[in-house]
C-alpha cells in the first residue's frame, strides 16, 4: 500500500483524468451545484490524446429526418452492438453543448459564412476546457496521479488516493461520487499523446468490483512517420513503397480499414515501408501548417519535405483509445456497476454508440463529451442527494502493484512491457487473431501480471510507474480473455480461425476479475472463468 496520505481533501464529486471527457464531466458536475475536485496525472491542457489532436464531433442538425438517417447509417455499421437511443443522445448533447465553449475557444468560420463548431484543435480545445472548468469553480490538481479508489464498508466509492508528484507526497480526496475519465490504454505504443493512457482507471475500477465490456474491440492503428507518431491527416492519399522502390498494393484507408491496415502491417513485417505524399490534395499542401502545425515539425526538423520526400512509416497501436472497449456502462447516468462510480470517455465502453467498430473520430469525440457531461451530472446528483459521509471509515481498494500478496521484491515492471505489447498490439497477434496465438499471449501476460501482483511495490513516483505497468498487464489480460471468448470475427475483432460473424454472439461481451479473469456475454447468465495453461 502507498504511504498513508495526509488529511484528505473533501469534495462532492471527484473527477479522475484530465482530457476532454474529464473536463466536460467537471464542468457538468459543477454546473449542477457540486463542489468538484479534478485530479490529473499530467496537466489539464496537454494530457491525453485530445490535446495533441483535433477532434471533430458528430454534428447533425436537428432537421426532420436528418438525425434518424445518420443514426441508421451508423447503426448498420455497428455489427449489432450499438444502441440507437444512446446515439441520439450524443448527437443532441454535442449539438447543444459545444457552442457553450464560445467564451473560451476561438470558434472560426466554416467556409460557408457560418461558424464552425464541430471540429476543434486539440491544444486550444483543452486550454478552453481548463479555463471553463476553472471559471465554474472546479479545483484542478495537475500532476496528481491517482493510484487507487477508496471504498466504504458497503462497497460504494468514497474517493481516491494517489501521489502528488511535484510535492513528493501522497494525496487523498473523499467524495460522494467519483467519475473515472482516465482514457483508454494504448500500451505505450508511442501513439501521439498516449503515454499516460495506460488503463489506470480500468484497473482501479475492477479492483472495486466493476466490469468491462468490448475489450476484444481493441485492434486499431495509426499511421505515422516511423520516428514520431503524429496525427494522420497528411497521409490519407499516400502511396507506399518497399525498400527497393517497388510500389506496394495497399487498399485505400477508410472504406476498407482492415484491408488497409493488414496490407501495411504485412509489408512492415517484411521490411521498411516508405510513404510518398506527392498525390496529397493541393490545398492540404498549402494549408497543413495553418491547420495542424505539429504534423510538419517532425519532417522539417529532419530536413525533409513531407510532400516531396519519401519517408519510412510505422503503425502505432491505439489499443482501447481508438478501440472501443472500456468500463461497462450499467445505466443512463454512465454509472458503472460499483455504487458511486461513473465512467466517461475512452475509459468507458463506446459500444453503445459505435458497436464493434472504432466509431471514427466524430463519434468518439461526441461520446467523450456526452458521457463526460452525463457522468458529471449524475455524480453530482448522487453526491448532493446522499450527503457527506466523509467521516465514515474507508478501505483502500488498490492491490496490483500496490499491495503485494507475497514478498515485496519488485519496484519496476518495465521488463514486462515488451511481452504485453507483443500480445496486444503486435501486428500479427492483433490483426490476425487466433485461439492459438491468444493462448500464447495469455501465458506470457499472466506470468507478468502474477509477478507484479505477488511482488510489486514501490515508493513515490516509482509507485506510479509500477502501477501503470500493473494496469497495462491487467488490461492485456482482459483484452486477450475477451478476444479468446469471442469465438468469431466481428468488426475490428478479426479471428483467422473464425473468419465470419456468428449470429449467436451478437451480444456485448463482459470481462472482469483479478485473480480469476471471467467473461460473460451480456445476453447470457453463464460466466466463464479463464483457464491459463501453465
Amino acid at each position: 500500500m502507498a504511504s498513508i496520505a495526509p488529511t484528505p481533501l473533501i469534495a462532492d464529486v471527484l473527477i479522475i483524468g484530465g482530457g476532454m471527457a474529464a473536463c466536460w464531466a467537471a464542468i457538468a458536475a459543477a454546473g449542477a451545484g457540486a463542489q468538484v475536485v479534478l485530479v490529473d496525472k499530467g496537466f489539464v491542457g496537454t494530457s491525453g490524446v485530445t490535446a495533441t489532436g483535433g477532434p471533430n464531433h458528430w454534428w447533425v442538425a436537428p432537421e426532420p429526418g436528418k438525425r434518424e438517417a445518420a443514426i441508421e447509417e451508423r447503426h448498420a455499421r455497428s455489427f449489432g452492438l450499438a444502441d440507437r437511443a444512446w446515439m441520439a443522445r450524443i448527437i443532441e448533447e454535442t449539438w447543444r453543448t459545444l457552442p457553450t465553449l464560445a467564451g473560451y475557444y476561438p470558434f472560426d468560420g466554416d467556409g460557408k459564412g457560418g461558424t464552425f463548431f464541430s471540429g476543434v484543435r486539440g491544444p486550444e480545445y483543452m486550454r478552453a476546457l481548463r479555463r471553463f472548468a476553472s471559471d465554474r469553480g472546479v479545483t484542478i490538481l495537475d500532476h496528481h496521479p491517482a493510484l487507487e479508489l477508496l471504498l466504504h464498508s458497503d462497497g460504494s466509492v468514497a474517493g481516491a488516493a494517489g501521489h502528488a508528484r511535484l510535492a513528493g507526497a501522497g494525496w487523498a480526496v473523499r467524495a460522494g461520487a467519483v467519475v473515472l475519465a482516465t482514457g483508454g490504454c494504448a500500451f505505450r505504443s508511442g501513439l501521439i499523446g498516449s503515454y499516460g493512457n495506460t488503463g489506470d482507471g480500468l484497473l482501479m475500477a475492477v479492483e472495486a468490483g466493476a466490469a468491462l465490456s468490448g475489450m476484444e474491440f481493441s485492434v486499431s492503428y495509426s499511421l505515422s512517420p516511423a520516428w514520431n507518431s503524429t496525427r494522420t491527416l497528411p497521409y490519407f492519399a499516400a502511396r507506399f513503397f518497399d525498400r527497393e522502390g517497388q510500389e506496394l498494393d495497399v487498399p485505400p484507408p477508410m472504406v476498407g480499414e482492415a484491408a488497409h491496415l493488414r496490407a501495411l502491417a504485412q509489408a512492415m513485417q517484411r521490411g521498411p515501408v516508405l510513404a510518398d505524399l506527392t498525390d496529397a490534395p493541393e490545398q492540404l499542401k498549402q494549408r497543413l501548417r495553418h491547420i495542424q502545425p505539429a504534423s510538419l515539425a517532425p519532417f522539417e526538423r529532419r530536413g525533409l519535405d513531407i510532400f516531396q520526400d519519401r519517408f519510412p512509416v510505422s503503425l502505432f497501436g491505439e489499443g482501447t483509445v481508438r478501440g472501443t472497449g472500456g468500463l461497462r456502462i450499467a445505466g443512463e447516468g454512465c454509472e458503472t456497476s460499483v455504487e458511486g462510480l461513473y465512467a466517461a470517455g475512452d475509459s468507458a465502453t463506446r459500444e453503445l454508440v459505435a458497436g464493434a467498430t472504432s466509431g471514427g473520430g466524430a463519434q468518439n469525440a461526441a461520446w467523450a463529451l456526452t458521457s463526460g457531461r452525463i457522468a458529471g451530472a449524475a455524480a453530482a446528483a448522487r453526491a448532493l442527494k446522499s450527503g457527506a459521509r466523509h467521516h465514515a471509515s474507508v478501505t483502500r481498494a488498490g492491490r496490483v502493484g500496490l499491495s503485494p500478496s507475497s514478498t515485496a521484491s519488485l519496484d519496476d515492471a518495465r521488463e514486462f512491457l515488451e511481452s504485453i505489447q507483443d500480445a496486444t498490439i503486435g501486428y500479427d497477434n492483433a490483426l490476425w487473431r487466433s485461439a492459438e496465438k491468444l493462448e500464447k499471449g495469455q501465458i506470457a501476460v499472466e506470468s507478468a501480471w502474477r509477478t507484479i501482483a505477488e511482488h510489486g511495490r514501490a515508493q513515490g513516483l516509482a509507485s506510479v510507474a509500477l502501477r501503470e505497468h500493473a494496469a497495462m498487464a491487467s488490461v492485456a489480460r482482459w483484452v486477450l480473455a475477451a478476444a479468446h471468448a469471442r469465438n468469431e470475427s466481428r468488426g475490428m475483432h478479426m479471428r483467422v480461425d473464425k473468419p465470419t460473424a456468428d449470429p449467436a454472439q451478437e451480444s456485448r461481451l463482459l470481462v472482469g476479475g483479478l485473480d480469476r479473469v471471467w467473461t460473460r456475454f451480456e445476453n447470457s447468465e453463464h460466466r466463464s472463468c479463464v483457464e491459463i495453461a501453465a
Binding site: P123, D142, L233, A237, D279, R301
Partner: protein, 128 residues
Amino acid sequence: MIAHIFEDRCTGCNDCVAACPTHVLDLGEGGIPLVARIDQCQTCFMCELYCSADAIYVAPEQDDAGSVTAHAALAAGHVGRLRHDYGWDRAPPSGQGHLSDFWQLGPLLREGAEIAARRYAARARTRD
C-alpha cells in the same frame, strides 16, 4: 525528445514543468528546469507550445534527443517555430483568426482518402 533548454532565454517560470504531461521535467535549482526523465518524453511538443520565451527545443525523434545540435536548431529557425505556427505568440490579425482554415481538416482528410480509393481502383482496372 526534449533536446535543448536555452538558458539564456529561459525566464525560470517553470511553465514547461507544469505543462509536460509525462513528468519529464523537474523544477531545477536556480530556476532552469531539469530534464529529469527523458525516457518518458513522447515528443508531443506541448512544452514548446507552453514556453512563452521560446527556450525549449524538441528534437523530432521519439527515441533520440541527440539528433540536432542546439546551434543547428537555432540556425534553422526551428526554435519557437511551432508556437508561432499555432499562433500562440501573437494576437490574430484583425478579421482573421488563427483557426480560420481549421474547418478544412475533415474535407481534406476525406479528399485524401478519395484520391487513394480512385488510384487503387484505377490500378485494379489496369491489372485486370
